[in-house]
Amino acid sequence: MFSTLMLAAMLAQSGKPVSAEEIRAIDLTVFPNGSGLPRGKGTAVRGAALYKEKCAECHNEKGEGREQQYPRLVGGIGSLATAEPVKTVGSYWPHATTVFDYIRRAMPYETPRSLSADEVYSITAVLLYWNGIIGENDELNEKTLPRVKMPNREGFVPDSRPHQKTKR
């Protein structure tokens, strides 16, 4: 067993302070309230050209997806309560900030984190535009993106398990 004092002493000699600058360089988290979004802007018009260049090879011409491994990004709105739900950015994702966060951290698959903030805003914009959520010329930036209301914003509920009664 370690005494509290011993543990405090051990912690004091490990764990170095990190500067705000170092954190900014690695922090990729974007929250639904927009915290973490970088300055920048983009529209669907610019995003369409970027999408063609950076995304279409896998996700198809207008976000239709390809095979099972390249997810569909567009459509399916209103399908979730049917026998064949189609989960896409438009139909399922509850927050527009998630689109920005995910593209910035993980896409394009072969060259993640290679896009500028303006490019990520633009590609986010074209996906939301193709899903009928924003207009073609609506500007997305760090202020407007968190205000976008996604169709499935209210679609998630907390874990309600266990669903089966305990028998003994």
Binding site: V18, L28, Q69, P158
Partner: protein
């Protein structure tokens, strides 16, 4: 051991040695002479006769995306050999120099801190046995395409001894501020995979693990550092861990909204469904195996629960009509795989065998129909239905 017993053993051993020496000289069969001088291997390998492998599937175009499954039906005991631990990667396996790797804790904390691997290893550590199960395990069973063997039905489950530092110690050093309720854990893989975890779990039994089954983590398991959240869906135990962002709210990232949410027939989906509920599978006899003929056999398998210890495992020999208690190998540990055994005599008639796990909370593993009644056929994740195997008249075992 009495002197008489010891003599008997010595005699037995001597007769074995004689028979071993009488085999053909110069081959591997006899113990008379080593066939090779390369017997002292710095890092051991299994016998060349042992061929058990994972069932690995990689997506064709995005290299590094895929999964491999633990061959549960070909393993013994409860520990999964590290080389056979199931894998699920979303953007490949990074090659990380441990000397260049560190863990940063920042956000709603009094003091943002960076821990090198060497610094972490100087802190008090613990070793614990825990399973990791992908919440997609059994997804095929839910969808109605039952796995032909226990690897394909339940192979996204593995059980290891993990060694690491309790996350609670590190978080208390950083000092969460008032209002801190979540922790966004991020990996250093190409896609910077991240999950939002309630701080209550982080302060409860979460580990920052660097050891697996007595050695360093395998690269596919997050070398040099991973988060380990006992009993929770595997996806949340972020591998290649390099950043913990303490926050008031969850990030609602791609992995916790677009994926790993359980869609109900109402169109609403359950989110943050972390716990893996009680589950079990018979691994012998199971799909793809064959009984030699009527007679006595041992039914054995694995049971586990993300809510604690396995309290009881029951086996059915009539497709789930009646149930009998199986024996459990000791020790039975919380949030760890437990081996169960049950002796039975096979008459030679077609027989449907099944197992169900009851955990210490009293929860009884349900039938597939009960799960579909509760959350529909499109819930994808967290399937834990009773698995049945059919022993056919010729002794071959298939899925039902």
């Amino acid at each position: 051991m009495s002197i008489r017993e010891r003599r008997r053993w010595l005699a037995l051993a001597a007769s074995f040695a004689v028979s071993a020496c009488s085999r053909k000289p110069g081959t591997n069969e006899g113990a008379a002479k080593p066939a090779s001088t390369l017997t002292m291997r710095p890092y051991g390998e299994r016998s060349p006769y042992e061929k058990v492998q994972r069932d690995a599937r990689e997506s064709t175009k995005s290299v590094g995306v895929g999964s491999s499954r633990t061959p549960l039906h070909e393993l013994e005991g409860t520990i999964t050999p590290s080389a056979l631990h199931f894998e699920r990667h979303h953007a490949g396996v990074p090659v990380i120099d441990p000397a260049a790797h560190s863990l940063v804790i920042h956000g709603l904390v009094r003091k943002a801190l960076r821990f090198s691997l060497a610094e972490l290893k100087r802190l008090p550590s613990v070793s614990r046995l825990h399973f990791i199960e992908c919440s997609g395990n059994g997804g095929g069973e839910l969808a109605g395409s039952a796995g032909a063997d226990a690897s394909r039905s339940h192979g996204l489950l593995s059980n290891s001894e993990w060694t690491g530092v309790r996350l609670k110690i590190l978080l208390e050093a950083a000092g969460p501020e008032a209002g801190a309720k979540w922790m966004i854990a991020e990996g250093a893989d190409a896609c910077r995979m991240a999950r939002s975890i309630p701080l209550t779990k982080a302060l409860d039994d979460a580990l920052i693990a660097y050891g697996q089954n007595g050695e360093a983590l395998r690269p596919e398991q997050g070398y040099p550092l991973r988060l380990l959240l006992p009993g929770w869906e595997g996806n949340a135990s972020i591998k290649w861990l390099h950043r913990l962002h303490i926050a008031a709210e969850p990030a609602m990232g791609n992995q916790e909204t677009a994926h790993y949410t359980d869609l109900h027939p109402t169109g609403k989906a359950s989110i943050f469904t972390f716990e893996m509920e009680a589950n079990s599978v018979i691994t012998r006899p199971s799909g793809s195996q064959k009984l030699a003929g009527p007679g006595a056999y041992e039914i054995t398998g694995l049971a586990w629960s993300g809510r604690g210890k396995v309290a009881r495992v029951e086996v059915s020999l009539d497709g789930g009509e009646s149930w009998q208690a199986a024996s459990l190998d000791e020790p039975v540990l919380a949030k760890a795989a437990t081996r169960f055994r049950y002796a039975f005599k096979w008459s030679g008639a077609p027989t449907v065998i099944a197992s169900r796990c009851i955990d210490e909370t009293g929860y009884v593993q349900p039938a597939r129909e009960e799960i579909i009644a509760a959350r529909g056929p499109n819930s994808t994740y967290h399937y834990n239905g009773i698995k049945r195997w059919m022993i056919k008249q010729d002794g071959s075992v298939t899925h039902v």
